[in-house]
Each structure stands twice: as C-alpha cells, then as structure tokens.
Symmetry: C2
Subunit: 205 residues, 2 copies
C-alpha cells in the first residue's frame, strides 16, 4: 500500500467541514432508502439541504463520494497492510501476504459489494483505476510480487491483472449476476495468487 503522498491536506473551513458531514450522512440515508443504484447526486444534495455544486466541490464525482462512505474501513485495511500483524502485514512470506490481502479485500467487497460496484462503474468514470485506494493496492501487490521474484515490469502488469479480479464491479458481477459464492471466489483467488508467485519462482530458477 505505502505512501499515498497525501500532501498537506489543508483543513477545511468550518462551514465546509459541517457541510461535508451533512452530505455524507445524507448519502448514507439515501442509500439506505433507495439502494446504491438510486444514489443520485441531486438527491444527496437535496437530502443534505445543500446545492448540487457543493456536493461536487467536496467530492469531485460520484465515485469519490461512494468511496468516501467506505473510507474508514478502507483506511483500516490499508493500515493493517502497512503495519499490522502478519500475514496481512509485514513479516510473512509474499505469497501468504498476497493471499491474506485478497481475502481481506474479498471480505470487504462481499460486505459492501453494491456500493463498490457502483463506485467503480458509474457514468463518466474514465476508470476507477485512478483512485488513491486502487493505486495503493496496485503498488502493494506489485511490491509483494517483486519480493516473490518478479521483475519490476512483470510485477507491475501482473499486479494489475490480479487486481482486476478483486475489483468491485467484477466481484459484484460474479456474485450477483453469475451466482457464484464467496468461497469459490476465495479459492480462485488463492489459485491466481499461487500461480503468479509460482511463476516467479520458476522464472528465478
């Protein structure tokens, strides 16, 4: 996961901060009431009692708003990866960390599948692949793959390849549309991960 290089993040003005909370709560309320699919920026704005412009100013786009709702939990996963106990955190062999990472993310996705799918899909999304969280995940997995013996280049591509399997849209699709169950997904992830790492080993040998 690593840096993220957040920059100074200047504190918001009091009213801005207040509105931010209001919007977030409103969004949660709207979702609870209409599902993630029914979350309209305008609806959120109205529910929050602010203008649409305010919602966009604060969150940039729909996708980010959705992510913001899950922010806390995602941050926790990130922390666990950076500094938590093995096998998620440092200390375990790469493959185990990789598997643990995928499992954790799958858990997260199963819990919040609808939200995350919506976050990555929505109109105008030039690709959910640019969000800080996604970038961090890519960097982390690539790092593990390098530890496992891949060249930087391969690690990078392989990382992206592996992570598409863990994308919100993908998992949601597999669960909802194709009717697979989480356990199967987990097994598949273990195989993908093992395959990727075995690859490196054989490459080194």
């Amino acid at each position: 996961m690593l840096p993220l290089a957040d920059g100074p993040a200047p504190p918001l003005r009091a009213d801005a901060q207040r509105n931010r909370e209001r919007v977030l709560c409103a969004a949660a309320r709207v979702i609870e009431h209409s599902g993630a699919a029914g979350l309209t920026m305008e609806a959120v704005a109205e529910e929050a009692g602010v203008g649409k412009g305010t919602v966009f100013r604060r969150f940039g786009d729909r996708s980010s708003l959705l992510h913001a709702l899950l922010d806390e939990e995602e941050r926790r996963l990130q922390d666990a990866v950076i500094a938590g106990p093995p096998p998620l955190g440092p200390g375990a062999p790469p493959l185990e960390r990789l598997i643990a990472f995928g499992d954790a993310r799958l858990d997260h996705l199963v819990r919040h599948g609808e939200l995350l799918a919506a976050a990555e899909l929505g109109p105008g999304s030039t690709a959910g692949d640019q969000h800080p969280v996604a970038v961090a995940a890519r960097v982390h997995v690539a790092y593990l793959l390098r530890l496992a013996g891949h060249s930087p280049d391969c690690a990078s591509v392989m990382s992206s390849a592996l992570l598409t399997f863990l994308s919100g849209a993908q998992v949601h699709h597999l669960l909802a549309d194709e009717g697979h169950d989480p356990a199967t997904l987990r097994v598949t992830w273990h195989r993908l991960a093992a395959g990727a790492v075995a690859d490196a080993a054989q490459q080194v040998a």
Copy 2:
C-alpha cells in the same frame, strides 16, 4: 465460443437495413474525425441524417454500436476458435488453445484498443460482460479450463477472472495509462494461462 443461440434473426425491412448501413458508416466517419471518445449518439444520428431514436432502435446502446463496428473481425475470431486450425481451433491441447486465444484477443485489442475501451466503459453500461461476444468468450475459456481438468464451477470463475485481463478497458489502461507494451502483456497472459492450467493439473494429481 460455441452456440450463441442467435435465434432466427428476422430480416430487416428494406428501409431499416438501409438506415443501419448509413448509421454504421456515419459512426465510422465520426470516429475517424473525432476519435472514439467523441462519438456521441447524437453526432452519429446527425451525420447519418436520421433521428437519434433510429440509432438507438437499431443498436440498443452506445456500447453495441461500437461493437457492431468491430463485428466482422470479432466474428472471424469466433469462427477461428470454433472451427479454425490449431492451436486456436480444436485439435491442440487446452493450454495452447488458451494461450492462442489470448494472443489473438490481445492482438485485436491492440489494434482497436480505443474503440473497445470505449465500448466497455461508456455511461450506463451495467457491465460490458453481458454482450454476446463476451459471453461467448467466457464460455469458450471455461470450456478449455474444464478440458484442462478444472471442475465446472472453478472453470467458470477462473474463466471470468482470466478474461478481465483481456477486457478492452483493462488492456487499454495498461497500454495507454501505465505505459506497458504489448509484448509484456502477452507474456503476462501466458503466465496467467499457464498458472490456471497448472493449477488444474495439480488439483487432479
């Protein structure tokens, strides 16, 4: 690839057929002039000299229109897979067919990356995973994986997993945004495929 079960596909009325062509040509012209990103349904309609409703009636949505533009080539790949010479067609061992399939698709994607990315991304796309071509690919890969020894269930999930790597959006992202080159992608595909198949072997053993 297999059936597709197209149904009878009733022939279009003469005027409808004529308009279909007109729209397709217009779309090609628009793309040539503004790039795939600039292809708006309205622009196509105007360029074709028909109403917007006509475009939608014929193609259903933006994504399908894009796919229709590439239809011929995609159909050719499909034929090659079903009945062509090995290693793409029947006759070679599963792994080789899998690799050949991926290579062919990567080729296709590299050639028409922009188009396909646009086809899969566009707003309102509940998921490009429902298009006949995508479904056919999934069925085909799952079939190969079963041949290689996977259980039907695993084959299905693994198939989806592998194919996300070959999606238009994904490949375009890797090429354009992350600056990888096609050769690296191909190597990565070989590894993924080999990993998946090796998995099955070890599972059987």
